[in-house]
């Protein structure tokens, strides 16, 4: 019985790894249509960054939410990647509030928001408030 339990725990923990590494590809959505150009620009930039794989870009009039996953081998340089991206974004979009995160939770939430946006079953107001929630989650400290 004890051995069975250990096997179950092991299998479930290994499988839970799959959830983390399921590739979603590059996704981007806008809340305000005026930002279409912005997200294509950013998406291009992200595509050029070879260290990243899944990315989500969500743009509103005054704020940008970018979350991404770093390829495993480059995780040691996560800080550097974030710094480069942030510098570039600040330079390109000085008027916007930029939220940049490699956190898995932020990615998960952003991706859900992206799905809702792309299926268009969420109102502009709801989407904005959800985006705000994600941003506050990111800024939360331990």
């Amino acid at each position: 019985m004890k051995k069975g339990l250990i096997v179950v725990i092991l299998i479930s923990s290994i499988l839970s790894g799959c959830v983390l590494f399921e590739e979603k590809g590059a996704s981007h959505a806008v809340i305000h249509t005026s930002q279409e150009e912005t997200i294509t620009q950013i998406a291009e930039r992200l595509e050029d960054t070879k260290e990243l794989y899944d990315t989500v870009v969500i743009a509103a009039d005054s704020s940008l939410l970018i979350s991404y996953k770093v390829k495993h081998l480059y995780r040691f340089d996560m800080k550097g990647i974030e710094k480069d991206l942030e510098a570039w974004l600040k330079d390109q979009y000085p008027d916007q509030e930029i939220t940049l995160s490699s956190d898995y939770k932020i990615f998960l939430e952003s991706f859900q928001l992206f799905e809702k946006l792309s299926q268009k079953n969420i109102s502009e107001k709801e989407a904005l408030s959800e985006m705000k929630k994600i941003i506050s989650l990111k800024n939360e400290l331990t």
Binding site: I6, I9, L10, S12, S13, I14, S16, G17, V19, L20, D103, Y104, K105, I106, L108, L137, K138, E140, L141, T142
Partner: protein, 152 residues
């Protein structure tokens, strides 16, 4: 009076001494420690997916849950068996800390709640806390100084 300590018999004692099987213990510790950490990672992932925790904030609740699990195992009398098998593998992760606290608490329950449990609960884990805090203080001091001097 003659010298009571006889310094001889080094050969006899070392000939029959049984060494700890170092390589075997390392492998066991690696595997068991790894399994414990995998379970911890599973808890973190679950917390991230189902609760509003980010990778940053999921650490603390994960530690609490792992300590709680080791407390249960200690109470059921299983953790000491695991410890004998795994050695450092079960002592180094935070679960070992939980075990050290709870085992002392159980042991001294017979002396009452105040002097027994209260007084002895950190008998083993107390030094971890003391030296953890002391070394954290010095690390923070060094970091502050380096930042002040502009090294970092």
């Amino acid at each position: 009076m003659s010298q009571q300590k006889e310094p001889l018999f080094q050969a006899e004692t070392s000939r029959h001494d049984k060494k700890r099987p170092l390589v075997k213990n390392c492998i066991k510790a690696f595997v068991v420690g790894g399994i414990i950490c995998t379970i911890g990672q599973l808890v973190t992932v679950l917390l991230i997916i189902y609760f509003p925790f980010t990778e940053q904030t999921a650490g603390n609740p994960t530690v609490s849950i792992m300590v709680f699990l080791s407390m249960l195992l200690t109470g059921f009398g299983l953790y000491n068996k695991l410890g004998q098998f795994a050695g450092a593998g079960s002592a180094v992760p935070v679960t070992g800390f939980g075990n050290a606290v709870v085992s002392a608490a159980i042991e001294h329950r017979s002396e009452g709640l105040v002097l027994g449990v209260g007084g002895n609960i950190f008998k083993l884990a107390g030094s971890v806390i003391v030296y953890g805090v002391v070394s954290a203080f010095f690390l923070a001091l060094i970091k502050t100084l380096l930042i002040q001097w502009g090294v970092l």
